[in-house]
């Protein structure tokens, strides 16, 4: 064991991935992961603004929000939730593969992750299309006549409540849109990492980018885990 450690220390002195201003790779890795966690905090604050707006309007216009929510497809939303959870698993496996130095396995897990991300975006695209077809997109062509089904009791929306349903869809599009944008960025990020991993940039001694991109991906997943019940599951018990 001790010999092994000495060997790695010796190796570190020549590690091309070690930047000049760090004293060793451990310090560099700690710095990078602290930086990443801080970046994730900024992402939470960014989405926090939208969650705040959502909270206020949902409390204020509950019936309209419930009616709007009931027009979203639980099946597609749940399918997407499953897709994202599986993609988080593949990211974890990719990090494990990188840690073990298994290059091909790493590349394949990353490819699967990107494919799952694209699956999510495709399903989301179908959902958006359905909203366009049914005039549920906020704007001059917005129409909404569906009532709020409160556990079997049908509560029709008053005409002055229709703008509130539009507000729901506005937040739906802004929040899922921002989330989808983050998914696109994540897919782009992983695509770059796939190329680099294929070329053998990463080793058990240096795979911080994989780990940090993984953290980002998990955060984007977690945001969806919150978005799904908040947007799709208002008053759905029956």
């Amino acid at each position: 064991m001790h010999d092994n450690e000495a060997a790695t220390v010796k190796h570190e002195a020549h590690n091309p991935a070690l930047l000049h201003h760090f004293s060793d790779t451990q310090q560099q890795k700690n710095a990078a992961s602290l930086g990443m966690w801080l970046f994730l905090v900024t992402e939470i604050m960014f989405f926090g603004g939208m969650f705040c707006a959502y909270l206020i309007y949902r409390l204020k216009y509950f019936n309209a929000f419930a009616a709007g929510s009931q027009q979203l497809s639980i099946t597609l939303g749940a399918a997407n939730t499953a897709v994202l959870i599986i993609s988080s698993v593949t990211v974890v496996l990719a990090v494990k593969a990188a840690e073990a130095g298994k290059r091909k396995l790493l590349v394949s897990y990353l490819v699967v992750t990107v494919l799952l991300g694209m699956t999510f975006l495709t399903i989301k695209g179908f959902e958006y299309r359905e909203k366009f077809e049914r005039h549920h997109v906020p704007g001059p062509t917005f129409q909404f006549t569906e009532p709020f089904n409160d556990n079997g009791t049908i509560i029709p929306l008053q005409p002055d409540e229709v703008p509130h349903a539009q507000l729901f869809f506005a937040l739906y599009f802004v929040m899922t849109g921002m989330h989808a944008l983050h998914m696109v960025i994540g897919c782009g990020l992983f695509s770059v990492l796939i190329v680099l991993a294929w070329r053998g940039h990463y080793s058990p001694g240096y795979y911080t980018p994989i780990e940090n991109a993984g953290l980002y991906w998990h955060l984007v997943d977690i945001i969806w885990i919150y978005l799904f019940p908040l947007l799709y599951l208002i008053s759905r018990h029956s």
Binding site: H21, K60, L167, V174
Partner: protein, 560 residues
């Protein structure tokens, strides 16, 4: 254009000129020449110089708009420009000064230069991200100038909804995008500082040995990282609202304009602490050095920075007392606003206690530190007037507010910044500035500042509203005084610009520690080598150990 100046000038001794000074021949300034070596640098010190040039450019641009405002207000009639133009002028003044000068100025220039030096590191944790953040700042700045040249914005820097989202025809989305991008620059700087301070401190440099400038920048970085994303999403919502009319802030569609104000001030109030905290850090360094004493109550001063950062997030709604928030909310925010006066007062009292029985010298940086304490105290105490609900109703949206925040922003931030620039100029440039001229300009700035803004307290109390281009004739005398003060202030700001540039070539060469100051940044040569220290320092002493450092006459700090 302006970016050519420092690369060309501060090469102290290119040829085998005499220069027997103890400074090594290569430093960060002469280690590589040409535009490329500057625009692609990852050296935190060079990036600080890039920021210095760009921030100064924006300062004079914002100052130009300030002069237009003061000229228009010289007479009661609207004779220099039309009402619409005036709206655009004060908006551009505010947006440029807030987002492109005050927020980045101390962290991005002095912080960038000093944080790695003060913690004994070779560079910031993420040097390339540091360069990226300068480029983001420049891109945002160019977009803002583009907005300015193609019609401007007329909403005021606060771009309140629904005026910004429904009614105005000016370039809200473009200006918002500029602020959004500059915001990323700010986030990345804050992130870089936090990681550097956590992970790259020299051996032995514990948290309780850190200079207070580092504590202040750490607290600032927390606000940058937590607050800036909120203004980013606010801008996104405003842009979306303006482009697609979704109703998020539109009462006709069930939206609430107050939500905009909450989101806006959730960032923009803490942002004033982004501006003032680093300057407070500078003042702590200056007071300790020029009274040759350890700062009184080091721990309290350090922790008060953190307290200000935390409490700063809990006071935002005091901007909305007359906007229709509930009385109970107003009471809470009023109380919390009074409460944040406590850590600010801790600083002021501890600085004055440090002066007690100190060996005080009145060198230029110290004059600025004194200026800071005086002006910040006035600015802070009038802040308590505004925290009082009844008084706030009376003076809301009047010149009282304008005077109050200029006392904090200009009297506070700029005094700290200029004090720091004079203090660390020998470290940055390797040259001393001319002491006589510097004292004169400090005097001009202090006198000009008070003459500009003190009459505005009275104007506001008498009821002159802000953001109007005309006013009743009885307010003219005070307005003329204010404009006269602004002219003196302008001279005071131009002077340092001139003599700093002059000193790059003709100033006496500075040695490594012209002030006999404590702090790791003075233990390396002036200007420092590219990697800051020839060998990583090991810290075994507390911060500000001035009792262990020999005396010398600090008012004539010409190098041997």
């Amino acid at each position: 254009m302006a970016s050519m100046v420092p690369p060309a000038n501060p090469a102290p001794s290119q040829t085998p000129a005499p220069a027997p000074a103890p400074t090594p021949t290569t430093n960060y300034l002469n280690n590589g020449y040409g535009l490329r070596s500057w625009l692609l640098t990852t050296d935190h010190k060079r990036i600080a110089v890039l920021y210095l040039i760009s921030v100064t450019t924006f300062f004079f641009l914002g100052g130009f708009f300030a002069m237009l405002i003061r000229l228009e207000l010289l007479t009661p009639q609207g004779d220099l420009m039309q009402a619409d133009t005036y709206n655009k002028v004060f908006t551009m003044h505010g947006m440029i000064m807030v987002f492109f000068f005050l927020i980045p100025v101390v962290p991005a220039v002095l912080g960038n230069f000093l944080v790695p030096l003060m913690v004994g590191a070779k560079d910031l944790a993420f040097p390339r991200i540091n360069l990226l953040s300068w480029y983001l700042y420049i891109i945002g700045g160019i977009m803002m100038m583009h907005v300015m040249l193609t019609g401007g914005v007329d909403t005021g820097w606060t771009f309140y909804s629904p005026f910004s989202t429904e009614y105005t025809n000016t370039k809200i989305v473009e200006a918002g995008l500029a602020v959004f991008i500059a915001g990323f620059s700010s986030i990345l700087t804050g992130l870089n500082f936090i990681v550097t301070i956590h992970r790259l401190r020299a051996p032995g440099l514990t948290w309780s040995r850190l200079p207070l400038f580092i504590w202040a920048n750490y607290a600032t970085s927390i606000i940058m990282v937590l607050g800036t994303p909120v203004i980013a999403i606010t801008i996104v919502l405003v842009a979306v609202e303006r482009l697609f009319h979704l109703g998020i802030f539109d009462p006709r569609l069930g939206g609430d304009p107050l939500l905009f104000q909450h989101l806006f001030w959730f960032y923009s109030h803490p942002a004033v602490y982004i501006m003032i905290l680093p300057s407070m850090g500078v003042v702590s360094e200056l007071i300790a050095c020029f009274s040759r004493k350890r700062i009184f109550g080091y721990k309290f001063v350090a922790l008060s920075s953190i307290a200000i950062a935390v409490l700063g997030f809990l006071v935002w709604a005091h901007h909305m007392f007359v906007a229709g928030i509930s009385l109970y909310a107003a009471l809470m925010f009023s109380f919390l606003t009074f409460f944040i006066g406590v850590p600010s007062a801790v600083k002021v009292f501890n600085w004055t206690a440090t002066l007690y029985k100190g060996s005080i010298s009145y060198a230029t940086p110290m004059l600025y530190a004194f200026g800071f304490i005086g002006l910040f105290t006035i600015g802070g105490l009038t802040g308590l007037f505004l925290a009082t609900l009844g008084v706030d109703v009376h003076v809301h949206d009047t010149y009282f507010i304008v005077a109050h925040f200029h006392y904090v922003m200009v009297g506070g931030v700029l005094m700290g910044y200029l004090g720091g620039m004079h203090f660390w100029w020998p470290k940055i440039s390797g040259r001393m500035y001319p002491e006589g001229w510097a004292k004169l300009s400090a005097l001009f700035i202090f006198a000009g500042f008070n003459l500009t803004f003190f009459p505005q307290f009275i104007l506001g109390y008498l009821g002159m509203p802000r953001r109007y281009w005309q006013y009743p004739p009885e307010f003219q005398v005070l307005n003329v005084l204010s404009t006269a003060g602004a002219s003196i202030l302008a001279v005071g700001y131009l002077l340092p610009m001139i003599y700093f540039l002059w000193s790059l070539r003709y100033g006496p060469i500075a040695d490594a520690n012209p002030w006999n100051a404590a702090g790791l940044e003075w233990k390396t040569s002036s200007p420092p080598p590219t990697f800051n220290f020839d060998e990583t320092p090991v810290v075994t002493w507390e911060a500000y150990n001035y009792d262990e450092i020999p005396h010398k006459d600090l008012e004539a700090p010409v190098a041997r």
